[in-house]
Amino acid sequence: MLQLLYRLRRRFKKIVITLHPKRLFDIPVDAECINPDMFAEKSADEIASLKVWEGNRQRTLEDLFKIKNETVSSSEELTIRVRGDVSKVRRIGAKMSMGNIIVEGDAGMHLGEEMKGGVITVTGNADSWTGARMKNGTIEIKGDAGDYIGASYRGSTQGMSGGKIIIHGDAGYEVGCFMRKGFIKVCGNVGQFAGIHMRNGTILVQGNSEGRAGAQMVNGKIVVCGYLPSVIPTFTIDVIRPKVKVNGEEVEGPFYQFIGDLADRGDGKLFVSKTKNPHLSMFEEYL
C-alpha cells in the first residue's frame, strides 16, 4: 500500500521545464540539447548554459530561450514544454530515451532523430526527417509533417527500427524510407514513394497517396485507405481482403492485396482500398 502511494506520488510529481524562444529565429538553430536526458539531474544554471548552435555561432540555451523550471528535480517524468514557433530549431529530442517533450507550435527538422524512448508531441506542424532512425518511443504530430518521416540517413539502409509515429495531418514524400520496424500512421494524405525501400514495419495511410507506394520494398506492410493513382508494375495482385489488421487494430476494407517489389525480390504487402480505387478493378481478372 505504501509502495503504491509512493509510486502515485512520484507519478504526480512531475517537473515541467518550459522554454520560450526569445525571438523569431531566421537561421537554423541546432539544439540537440533540448532533450529530457540532457536536462535530467541538472540545475537551472546548468540547463541554461547548455550549448546550441545558431548558424555557425555557438550560443547557450539561455541566449535563445527563456527557461522556466516549474517543480523540483527528479530524473523521471521530466517534461520539456516548448512554447512558440521553433520551426527553425532542429534536432529537438534527438537521441532522447525517456520523458516527454511537448512542442506547442511548429517544430523544426530532425525532430526526435535516433530517439530511443519517451514521447514527443507537437501541436503544430513538424518538418522533414521527423523520427529519422528512431529506435523506440512515440512521436505524435497534430498538424502536418514534412518528407522522410522515419527515414534513414542519406545513403544508409538503416531507417526507423522501432517505435511509433502518428501524424494527424498530411505527410510528405518518402514516408518510412528504409524502415525496418515500428509503425507510422498518417491520418491525412502522403506524397509519393511512401514506404520506399521498406525492410519491415507498418505504414497506415488513412488518406490518399500520390503514388509509387512501396517502391523497392522488401518486406513489411503498407495500407492505403484512400486513393492511389496506380500500383507500381513490379507488384502483383494476390487476393482481396475484407479487412486488414494493423498494429493490433482492424481496418475495414475491402482491400486489394499486392505483393512486391518483385524487382528487388521483395515480399512486402501493399493494401489498397477497393472502394476508393475503382480504376484498380482491372487487376481482379488476374486473381
Partner: protein
C-alpha cells in the same frame, strides 16, 4: 637549416640490420647524416621509445576518380566520423574513404610518411594527381593501370615488345606514374562485353591474347625499362573460391623471367587470391599452398590485404569482381568503364565476425603473413579500403605480434571459420624488427625507393617514434600497449621536421610526388597512327592527354635509363 638529434631510442632499421640498438639518429636538411653538432640541433629524447623509419604503404586507394566516387556514394560513412578543424589542420570526414586532408593527417599520426596509390586509370591521372597534391604530410606515387590498355594488348599480341616498352615509358611520363599495375589482366577488357577471364589461359575477346601473355609481356617490358618496382598484379578470379590455383599459376608464369634473387612480380592483396573450395559454402583457406610456393621462390613478393571486421567500401578496377559483390550483397554499386583503358567498381561492404566466409578471409590474411617465413617477401596492407581502412594497421600489428590477441579475436568469430582456421596451429609471433620490415623497410625495398624505409646516411629523414619500450613491454602479452603506441606515434618526422607529436599534427607539410622519367633510346614520341587512334577512341585529344610536370605540386622525378 634544421638539424635534429633523436637520442637514445631503440632503433629498428632492418635495411641496415639494426635490431633494437640504443643509438642516436642525426638529421640535417631533410636527410639522415653521420653527425651534427649538438648545440645547433633540436634534440628529441627518445629514451624508452622505438625509432623506426617512416612507414611506407605499398597499396592503398586514397586518391582518384574511383575513390572520389566512393566518397560521393557513402554519405553515411562520413557522418559517423567527422574531424573538426583545428588551428593547424583542416576539417574532414572519415571513415573508410577519408577526405584527402584527413587521409594525410591520419597516416601521419600513425607514423607513415610514404604511400602508394595503386590504381590510376591513365585517363584519370590528372584527377588522381590533383587529389594526391591535396593529401598532405606524405610522399606519394601512383601506378597507372596498363593490363587492359588497348595499345599494350595490341603490341603484345603482335609480339612488338620493344615498341610496347617505349609506349609504356611514354605513359609513365604522360601520367606521372610509378609502376605497372595489372588488374585482372584481360578480364576488364572482357567485362566491357559482359564477360570475365576464367583462368590465365582464357582468351580476351577481340584481342585474341591471354592473361598469361599480358603478364609475361608486361613483366618483360618492366625489365626492359629497368623500372624500380616489379609489375604490380591483382590476379584473375579475385575473390572467388578456388582462386588460389589462379594465383599460383600467375606466380609460376613469370618464374623463368627471374634473374637471381630479384623479384619480378608483386601479387597484391594476396588474401583475396588465396581461397580454396568450389563455392562459398565450401570456401576455405589456400594460404598454406600460396605460402609454401612463396617460401620456395624468390621471384615473387606479396602484400596481405588483411580483412578487418568493420563496415567499409570496396573499390577496385576489377569491374566483374565488383559486379559479383553487388549481386551477393544487393548493396549499392558503382560500375564504370574507362574508355579504352580499364573499368572500375565500388560496393559498400561489411565484414562480419559471425560470417564464416568473412572470418575465414580474416584468418587467411594472418595465415599468409605468418606462414611466409621471410618478412621481406610480404607487406602489411589492408588494401585500403577494400579489406578495411588503413587506420586499422595497429590492430593488425597486434595480431601479428601476439598469439593472445589472435586467440581473443578467434573466440568471437564464426564457429565454422574457427574450426577450419590454421591460426591455432601457428605459434609464430612477429618481433619489432620484423614489424619494421613488413611495414616500412620491406615495402621500400620492394618498391625500389632507395631514399625510404631506412635510417642509413643519405636517406630521407622520415622517421617514426613510438612510445613503447621493447625492453619492458612483451608485445605478445601486452599487445594492447603496442596497439596504442602504433595508433598514435609519439613523433613523426617528415623531411627532417617534426610534423606529429603525441599523435597530434604540429606542422602540416606537403609531400613530394614521385614519378618515373624513363629515358629510352627509341623515340618516345607517339606516332601519327596513335594520334589518330586517340582521335578515334578517346574523349580527350592526344595533346591534352599528358600531364605536364608543372601540374604537380612538388614533382620528384626519378630518372631511369631503359634498355630500349
Amino acid at each position: 637549416m634544421t638539424h635534429l638529434i633523436i637520442k637514445n631510442g631503440f632503433v629498428y632499421d632492418p635495411l641496415n640490420g639494426i635490431n633494437g640498438e640504443k643509438m642516436d639518429i642525426f638529421t640535417s636538411n631533410g636527410r639522415i647524416v653521420e653527425k651534427v653538432a649538438e648545440k645547433e640541433a633540436k634534440v628529441i629524447d627518445a629514451s624508452g621509445m622505438i625509432v623506426m623509419p617512416g612507414g611506407v604503404d605499398i597499396h592503398c586507394h586514397i586518391a582518384g576518380a574511383e575513390v572520389n566516387s566512393g566518397r560521393l556514394l557513402r554519405p553515411e560513412d562520413h557522418v559517423k566520423d567527422v574531424e573538426v578543424k583545428t588551428r593547424l589542420t583542416r576539417s574532414g570526414v572519415g571513415y573508410s574513404i577519408p577526405s584527402t586532408f584527413t587521409t594525410g593527417y591520419r597516416y601521419s599520426r600513425m607514423g607513415y610518411t610514404t604511400i602508394m596509390n595503386p590504381s590510376m586509370p591513365p585517363l584519370e591521372a590528372r584527377h588522381t594527381h590533383e587529389e594526391l597534391d591535396d593529401t598532405p604530410m606524405l610522399d606519394k606515387a601512383s601506378y597507372p593501370l596498363l593490363g587492359d590498355w588497348w595499345f599494350v594488348l595490341e603490341h603484345l599480341r603482335d609480339g612488338l615488345l620493344e615498341e610496347c616498352a617505349a609506349h609504356v615509358a611514354w605513359i609513365m611520363n604522360a601520367t606521372k606514374g610509378y609502376a605497372i599495375k595489372i588488374v585482372n589482366p584481360g578480364g576488364l577488357e572482357a567485362w566491357s562485353s559482359g564477360r570475365n577471364m576464367r583462368d590465365i589461359d582464357d582468351s580476351v575477346p577481340y584481342f585474341n591474347i591471354t592473361p598469361r601473355e599480358i603478364i609475361r609481356g608486361l613483366c618483360k617490358v618492366n625489365k626492359l625499362l629497368n623500372l624500380p618496382h616489379t609489375i604490380h598484379v591483382h590476379t584473375n578470379n579475385l575473390g572467388k573460391p578456388g582462386n588460389y590455383v589462379t594465383a599460383l599459376e600467375t606466380m609460376k608464369c613469370v618464374e623463368d623471367l627471374a634473374e637471381g634473387d630479384r623479384p619480378v612480380i608483386h601479387v597484391t592483396h594476396s588474401q583475396f587470391s588465396s581461397y580454396k573450395g568450389s563455392d562459398w559454402r565450401t570456401m576455405s583457406s589456400g594460404a598454406e599452398e600460396v605460402a609454401k610456393y612463396v617460401n620456395h621462390h624468390s621471384h615473387v613478393t606479396l602484400d596481405v590485404g588483411q580483412v578487418i571486421f568493420t563496415d567499409t567500401t570496396t573499390m577496385t578496377a576489377d569491374g566483374p569482381f565488383q559486379h559479383r559483390l553487388y549481386l551477393m550483397t544487393g548493396n549499392k554499386w558503382v560500375n564504370h568503364d574507362v574508355e579504352t583503358e580499364t573499368t572500375a567498381g565500388i560496393v559498400p561492404f561489411r565484414y562480419r565476425r559471425k560470417s564464416a566466409v568473412h572470418a575465414t578471409q580474416w584468418s587467411i590474411g594472418l595465415e599468409l603473413a605468418l606462414l611466409i617465413k621471410d618478412p621481406w617477401k610480404i607487406c602489411m596492407t589492408t588494401d585500403h579500403p577494400n579489406g578495411g581502412p588503413f587506420t586499422a594497421y595497429p590492430s593488425i600489428i597486434a595480431w601479428f605480434m601476439s598469439q593472445v590477441a589472435r586467440k581473443k579475436t578467434m573466440m568471437k568469430i564464426s564457429k565454422r571459420a574457427r574450426r577450419n582456421s590454421l591460426l591455432p596451429s601457428i605459434d609464430r609471433e612477429y618481433s619489432f624488427y620484423e614489424i619494421a620490415t613488413i611495414t616500412r623497410a620491406g615495402q621500400a625495398k620492394i618498391l625500389g625507393l632507395k631514399q625510404k624505409g631506412h635510417l642509413g646516411v643519405g636517406a630521407d629523414a622520415d622517421i617514426a617514434i613510438y612510445d613503447v619500450n621493447p625492453e619492458q613491454v612483451d608485445p605478445s602479452r601486452k599487445y594492447k600497449t603496442v596497439r596504442r603506441a602504433f595508433r598514435k606515434a609519439a613523433y613523426t618526422i617528415k623531411g627532417g621536421e617534426v610534423v606529429v607529436k603525441d599523435g597530434q599534427i604540429v606542422k602540416p607539410v606537403y609531400g613530394k610526388t614521385f614519378w618515373l622519367d624513363v629515358k629510352t633510346s627509341l623515340p618516345m614520341e607517339v606516332n601519327d597512327d596513335l594520334k589518330q587512334k586517340f582521335r578515334d577512341y578517346w574523349t580527350i585529344e592526344y595533346e591534352n592527354y599528358a600531364i605536364p610536370e608543372r601540374f604537380l605540386h612538388a614533382s620528384a622525378p626519378i630518372s631511369i635509363k631503359a634498355e630500349v
